[in-house]
Symmetry: C2
Subunit: 115 residues, 2 copies
DNA sequence: TATGTATTCAACCGATTGGTTATCAACTGA
DNA sequence: TCAGTTGATAACCAATCGGTTGAATACATA
């Protein structure tokens, strides 16, 4: 795991299994066995993925008897979001919103066929 | 490098050197030597980082004599952005933008002192 | 107490990472 | 043609990754 926070967050997110786990946790809290259910890998492998997510601060874990319920923690995601925002000007904004699109169409005037 | 596009993008972004290279390219196109200048590692190491960024589609490269100018390609960043947006509801929106803050202030009307 | 269930830990494995140095290739210009 | 510059490639290395299996831990219940 890389040293700085943003790096470890992005690294944790770079695995499809871990993103799948986060997607499941977006529905609601879940135990390790519940999280592991969609995957063919061993429970120990999922446990490792959870540790990566936990050290990245992307999940937190409770204690209920022998269960360790996992919860999504989105703060690191916001860091990524904010980092990304400084690059927002580099991608095509015209597809971002219908409003932008309509603005373009209005400026072109009627009768224009070359779309 | 992971198989799917989003994974390889996030993985490429998970290294601070590679993010630094992108930040430099956000200023403008640059050659490999220019990109390598801030780092103490060898040119070959930077070349490897560039290959990771290129296979992730985050940069493109031209040809000018013996130079291979690099250019930022932000399309994969937009994919990450869109993936992140589905998690936006999990973090606190109230600090997201000054616009939101001002909207709240306007709705409150003048003369309100309890900030 | 013994048993079953949930989860982690430890050791191991092959593949990959991020770095090195040395070499090769492409191009410029004297 | 030959030297200099730019960059990529190859071979190598220690460390890490993502997975495995097997044992250990923690708890509930009979």
């Amino acid at each position: 795991m890389p040293s700085d926070r943003l790096s470890s967050t992005l690294f944790a997110l770079s695995d499809p299994t871990r993103r799948g786990i986060l997607a499941r946790l977006a529905i609601g809290d879940a135990t390790v066995t519940e999280l592991a259910e969609p995957y063919e890998m061993s429970l120990a492998a999922v446990s490792k993925h959870l540790k990566v997510l936990e050290t990245a601060g992307l999940i937190s874990r409770g204690r209920e008897a022998q269960w360790r319920p996992c919860r999504l923690e989105a703060a690191p995601l916001q860091d990524v979001f904010e980092w990304l925002e400084s690059y927002e000007r580099f991608w095509d904004r015209s597809l971002d919103s219908l409003a932008d699109y309509l603005k373009v169409m209005q400026n072109r005037g009627p009768g224009n066929k070359d779309d």
